[in-house]
């Protein structure tokens, strides 16, 4: 049916004839475009609300915490008196825990990613593993805390140790590392692999000498992002029973410990207002660590990126 035919049918069938075709199809472009401008304004506004909140949050924390931030604060243990309280135990605890978290999670994550990308066929089991990993990424962090409490603290009898905390955190960040490593591996063109096979390399030699080195920047970036997620996590550590008030630095994986976000939480829930400012000072330190790590990740991504 031609367009003219449709037009005639409409005109013949309708009631009073329209004044003119121009009025019928009046473009009214100015009003329609205005909607777009208004919407652009709304879009920028909603992003600004998000960014503005971040700015206000940082400003508030800086105003409260900066006066408390000095070397003595970083280098003292916690105390009942705000003037003497510091982050020493928390900083050592976080560093110690993160070391073991990465030690467990990074090899496991890379190995899982290599298996899923380079070996796994389209079998039922492999599909199950994939679905399982994406479901794990959506499990609330506090559930990992309950897992750690039951499995590591109780069944493995690790008590409230650095080791129990690290293992819990390692399982928590594992999906993040796997997803990032898989993306990095997938981005390597198959021509690289084909070339390696063509000169007689085995599958593992190809992965070891070609795939992994090329995927390294992506894997590293994912690892830093996973670590920054773990550093800020509070709930799972509280659940497994990491202590809030610690007057020593851990020097054995079986020692009890505290961590940066836990101390911040503890000071936040105290009654005295000075401790709230102290918590703000702790937040500045935490945010500074995270900012450094994320900048490093972004820098590495650009610095080491290869284009194929």
């Amino acid at each position: 049916m031609s367009a003219i035919g449709v037009g005639e049918a409409t005109i013949k069938g309708g009631g009073p004839p329209p004044a003119s075709a121009e009025e019928m199809f009046r473009p009214n472009l100015a009003a329609r475009k205005a909607k777009g401008y208004i919407f652009t304004g709304l879009g920028i506004l909603s992003i600004l609300i998000g960014i503005g909140t971040l700015v206000i949050l940082l400003g508030d924390v800086l105003v409260r915490g900066l006066p408390w931030l000095d070397l003595q604060f970083l280098n003292s243990f916690d105390s009942r008196f705000a003037e003497r309280a510091g982050l020493k135990a928390a900083l050592y605890g976080t560093a110690y825990m993160m070391f073991f978290t990465i030690l467990f999670a990074l090899p496991l994550g890379i190995m899982s990613a290599v298996y899923l990308e380079e070996y796994a066929g389209d079998s039922r089991l492999n599909r199950f593993i994939e679905v399982n990993i994406s479901n794990l990424a959506g499990v609330p962090s506090i559930i990992y805390g309950l897992l750690g409490l039951q499995v590591f603290v109780r069944w493995f009898a690790l008590e409230r140790s650095v080791l129990a905390g690290s293992l819990t955190m390692a399982l928590l960040v594992l999906p993040i590392i796997i997803v990032a490593a898989r993306e990095a591996i997938r981005a390597i063109p198959s021509s690289i692999r084909d070339a390696s096979y063509a000169v007689g390399a085995t599958r593992w030699q190809t992965i070891r000498h070609h795939v992994l080195p090329y995927a390294f920047p992506g894997i590293l970036t994912g690892n830093i992002l996973a670590a920054s997620r773990a550093i800020g996590e509070t709930a799972p550590l509280i659940t497994i029973g990491a202590l809030t008030f610690v007057l020593f630095t851990p020097d054995d994986p079986m020692d009890t410990f505290t961590a940066l976000p836990i101390v911040i939480f503890n000071w936040t829930s105290k009654a005295q207002a000075e401790f709230h400012d102290l918590a703000a000072a702790g937040i500045i330190v935490l945010m500074a660590v995270l900012l450094t790590m994320n900048s490093l990740a972004i820098w590495l991504r650009y610095r080491l990126r290869k284009r194929f």
Binding site: L42, E118, P140
Partner: protein
């Protein structure tokens, strides 16, 4: 896997050549061992799920030996730490639902408008700058948001609403909304950007404006991904712990008044964990019962979200 990799049967190390070319037993064994080790590493994630289910369900089973399921599901008072113990989960679930709902009220409108703007209106330069900044919001530790909600947002709101209590679900929910905003924006933007350019160009070709293309073509076409992002954000809000533990309070309260002090499911787990609770006691078992309920809720939401993406995705060539 989308890309072409050789399957083990086509693997070139085994072609029937002469001499040593195809027969290197030691090398073949090494390859097998490595493949086995990699497979075992991939199984750790399955074991994690198994561990979660086992640890949650074993304690929850013991819990329901002492408390009836009917009381758990149909009562509205939660006082397991008092002398007269009551175990009505609704006192906690109501708070979880309310804070999450408030969070969605903030995050969904802002997130969807931001996503539509970023995908359809913004120049690629603006997008490259704004999107990463917005995603910084998702990287802020939740304990920091909790601090902000308790010591900044609540006092601010109290000036407008004098009867607002010091701990309340309103400010916790609002701050949580800001936290999940980048999730809604980012995932929805991905969904909209992946609508094929031909649809967009077709609509422009018919004389539609940017706004009409965005609202009448792109938004409906990306709807499954948008709904999935909202459900995923809801699941994140339901499982979020520190903001509500710090700012919404620790008194179980079956109410839907956002100005009152409440306690969410996650906040209750934190409260008990902070105390000295011996393993095997009823209080210890309650956190697993609450955890199981939380796990089931978030799991169902995640599955629905994935199902939406698969079931309702518009497929274009």
């Amino acid at each position: 896997m989308a890309q072409e990799t050789l399957t083990s049967r086509e693997y070139p190390g085994r072609f029937p050549g002469r001499g040593n070319l195809g027969r290197n037993r030691a090398r073949d064994i090494k390859e097998r061992v490595i493949q086995g080790a990699l497979f075992l590493a991939a199984l750790v994630s399955v074991l994690t799920t198994l561990g979660i289910v086992l640890s949650l369900f074993s304690e929850t089973w013991d819990f329901f030996q002492k408390v009836s399921l009917a009381e758990f599901l149909f009562e509205t008072e939660w006082t397991p730490l008092f002398s007269i113990q009551k175990f009505g989960i609704w006192a906690l679930v109501s708070a979880t639902l309310m804070t999450s709902f408030i969070a969605l009220l903030i995050a969904v409108p802002l997130g969807l408008v931001a996503a539509t703007y970023l995908s359809e209106f913004a120049s690629s330069r603006a997008r490259d700058i704004l999107k990463p900044i917005l995603e910084v919001l998702a990287g802020v530790p939740t304990v920091v948001y909790g601090f902000f909600a308790l010591f900044f947002v609540t006092p601010l709101l109290q000036r407008i609403i004098p009867e607002l209590s010091g701990y309340n679900s309103l400010s916790a929910g609002m701050v949580m909304g800001i936290m999940i905003l980048p999730m809604v924006a980012s995932l929805s933007e991905d969904a909209m950007s992946s609508v094929p350019a031909s649809l967009r160009e077709g609509a422009y070709g018919l004389g539609a404006t940017r706004f009409e293309v965005a609202t009448k073509v792109i938004f409906p076409a990306a709807l499954s991904g948008i709904i999935a992002s909202v459900i995923l954000a809801l699941s994140r809000a339901v499982g979020e712990t520190m903001i509500v533990a710090i700012a919404a309070g620790q008194s179980p309260n079956f109410t839907f008044n956002p100005l009152e002090t409440v306690e969410t499911m996650t906040a209750y787990i934190v409260q008990v964990s902070l105390g000295d609770t011996p393993a095997g006691s009823l209080a210890y078992q309650t956190i697993f019962a609450v955890g199981t309920s939380l796990f089931i809720m978030t799991f169902i939401m995640n599955v629905i979200s994935q199902w939406f993406v698969r079931r309702f995705r518009e497929v274009y060539d």
